[in-house]
Symmetry: C2
Amino acid sequence: MTGPAASGAGFELLSSDGAARRGRLTTAHGTAETPAFMAVGTAATVKGLTVEQVVATGTQIVLGNTYHLMLRPTAERVAELGGLHRFMNWQGPILTDSGGYQVMSLAELRKITEEGVTFKSHIDGSRHALTPERAVEIQDLLDSNITMVLDECTPFPVEEAETKRSMERSMRWAARCKEAFRRREGYGLFGIVQGSVFPELRRASAEALVEVGFDGYAIGGLAVGEGQELMFSMVEATVPHLPQERPRYLMGVGKPADLVGAVLRGIDMFDCVLPTRSGRTAQAFTGHGALNLRNARHQSDPRPLDEACACPACKDYSRAYLHHLFRADEMLGPILLTQHNLHYYQSLMANLRQAIEDGRALDFAAAFEEEQAKGDIPAL
Amino acid sequence: MTGPAASGAGFELLSSDGAARRGRLTTAHGTAETPAFMAVGTAATVKGLTVEQVVATGTQIVLGNTYHLMLRPTAERVAELGGLHRFMNWQGPILTDSGGYQVMSLAELRKITEEGVTFKSHIDGSRHALTPERAVEIQDLLDSNITMVLDECTPFPVEEAETKRSMERSMRWAARCKEAFRRREGYGLFGIVQGSVFPELRRASAEALVEVGFDGYAIGGLAVGEGQELMFSMVEATVPHLPQERPRYLMGVGKPADLVGAVLRGIDMFDCVLPTRSGRTAQAFTGHGALNLRNARHQSDPRPLDEACACPACKDYSRAYLHHLFRADEMLGPILLTQHNLHYYQSLMANLRQAIEDGRALDFAAAFEEEQAKGDIPAL
C-alpha cells in the first residue's frame, strides 16, 4: 500500500507488464480496480441509466462535474441533502472534476485572472466565480472522494508561449488547491499536468506538481483535437516524470483504442462521455468495431449486437429491435445502447486488467486492434 | 374455469364483492390476475422502461398498438422476427388494440367505408388500409394473445343518429373479425361495445356482440372527454348486458379514481397511458394524491415521493433529487417516475384484488377517495 497512511485516497500497485499497471484505488466509499474507466455522471446521474444498471455494467467509480453541479442543484444543496453519494444513490467512489474544462467549453463571457475565473452560466446566464479555493470547497461540499485541482485547459492548437503562461498559472492554482484541501481518510486530491502538445512543458508541469505532492496525477488538455498519435506521445512525455506509486489519470479519453494504447503507456484511470453519448445516438461499440443501429441494414437482423457480450441489450434483443427503437425515437434505444456501451468499456478494462496480470498486455492489444477493423464505423 | 375449453383465452372468475370481480386471465403466454391494469407498450416498448423494470412494477400484461406497429416496424417484420413477445422480450400476455382508435386520433386523411378505413400514416404520409380482416391478420402476425376487433371510435360529443350508424357498422365489423379470427389455444378475440353516451345504443351494441360471441368484451369510445360521471353511467348501462363468465375491459381508462370506480362497477381490465405519460412529464401518483415534481417546493425536500411505496424511486431517492433530474432534463427523471407511477397503478390493482377477496371493496374505495384529496394536483 503506497497511498498516504493516515489520509488521502490510497493506491496500491498490484502488478505491471511493461509500462502497463494493475492497481487498486481505495476510498472512503470503496475501491476501484485499475486500469479503471469512470462512467460520466455529469449532473448526478449517468445519463439514461439507473444506479443498478450502472453497477451491472461493471462500473466501479463515477465522475461528477463540478461545473454542472455548482450551477444546478448547487453544491450547498447537495451537501444539505447528505452529499453526492446519497443524493444520486451511488455508493461507490466518486471523482469530481474541478469545473475548469467546462468553464472553457460551455460557459459564456469567461474571464481568467490570477485569482480564478468568472463566467456566465450556460443554463440561466447568472454570473459565477471559480477560484482554486472555491473549486476545492465545492468538491468538499459534494463529498467527492477524489477532488481535482482547478486548471485552465488550453484550446488546441495553441502557441507555446501562451501554453507556458497558462500552464504556470495552473501550477500556482494547483498549489493553492493543495493548501485549501481538507485532508480526510479515504479522500484524495489529484493534480493536473498541462502543457498542450509541448513535451518540455508537460515535463515541467509534471515536475511542478510532484514538487507540491498530490494523491494522484492527471494528464489534462488532451483529447481536444490533437489526434491519437500526439496524445500518446504526450502521455509518453509525461509518465516518466510522475511517481510510480501514484495513480495516473488521462482526462476525457477516449475511444476503445485510445484506452488500450494509454494503458500500455502506464495510465490507470480514464473518463469519457463516448460510451454514454454514443449510446444515445445509436452508436454501439462491439468486439468487432462500432455499429450504427440507425443503419437500414439492421432492420431485419435477428442477431444480437455482439454475440460475445453478456449485457441485457445483447442477451435479450435483436439488432432489428434496437434499430426499431431508434427509428421510433423510443427511450429504450438509448437506455439499452448506453448499457451495452458502458458494459463494453468495462469489459475491455477488465480484460486489460487480466492481460496485465497475465503478462500479455501487448498480445491483447494486438488482437484487439485486429478485431476493431470489422465494424460499420472503423474510425471509432 | 369458464373460458373456452379447447381454445381461446381463458377467464376464471375467482370471487366477487357486489359488482366487483376477482378473476384470472389465462393465455398461451401465462396469466394475469384481474382486475388488471395493462401497461401501454405502444411501439413494442413500455416507454422509458426495460422489461425487467416493467415486471418489477407488478405488471402482468402489456398492450401493444396495432396502428403503430403496422406502420413501424410492420407486422410482417415482427412476425419474421418471431412475434411481438420475442421482439420486445416480454414473456407475459399481450393484448393488442385493433388500430381503430389511433386511426381516428393520429392518422390523416382517413376515409371510412363499409369495407374498412384508409388513411395516411402520421409518420411518413404513406397510405394504408385497415379492414376487419386485415386488423385481425396484423394481430395474428404480431402473435397477440388477445386480439381486439376493428371498430370505429366516435368523437365526443356526437349525435345519436350518427352514433347508431357508426355503432351498427362496428358491430358488422366485429362479426367479420370473428369470422377472420384463427382460433388457437391461449389466444382470444374481444368485441368492443360502442354507442357513445347513449345507454340504449350501449345495450344494443352489447347484445349484438354477445350474439356473435367473443372471449371477452371491451367498452370502447369512453374517456374521450365525457367526464367520469357519464363514463361510469355508461359502464352501468353496459355491464348488465355482458355475460358474467367473460372478462370486461374498459379501454383507455384511466385516472386512479376511475379505475377504483369502474372496478366497483364490474370491470376487469384497463389500459391507459396516464402512468407512463405522466411519469415523463414529472407528474407522480401517490397514496396521497398527485405531485408535480417540477414544482420548486420539492427542491430541497429529502423525503421520498411516497413513504408507503416500495418502488426504486421511493426507496432510493429524495423528492429533491427527482426535482433536480427533471430540471436538468435528465432521462433518469422520466425513467424513475414512470417506474413509480406504474408501480403505483399495479399496487392499486393488487390492493383492489385483495379488497374484493376480503369482501371490503367499498370500504377500500372510500378510504382511497379520502387520501386522494391531499396531493398537489387533486384533479388527477
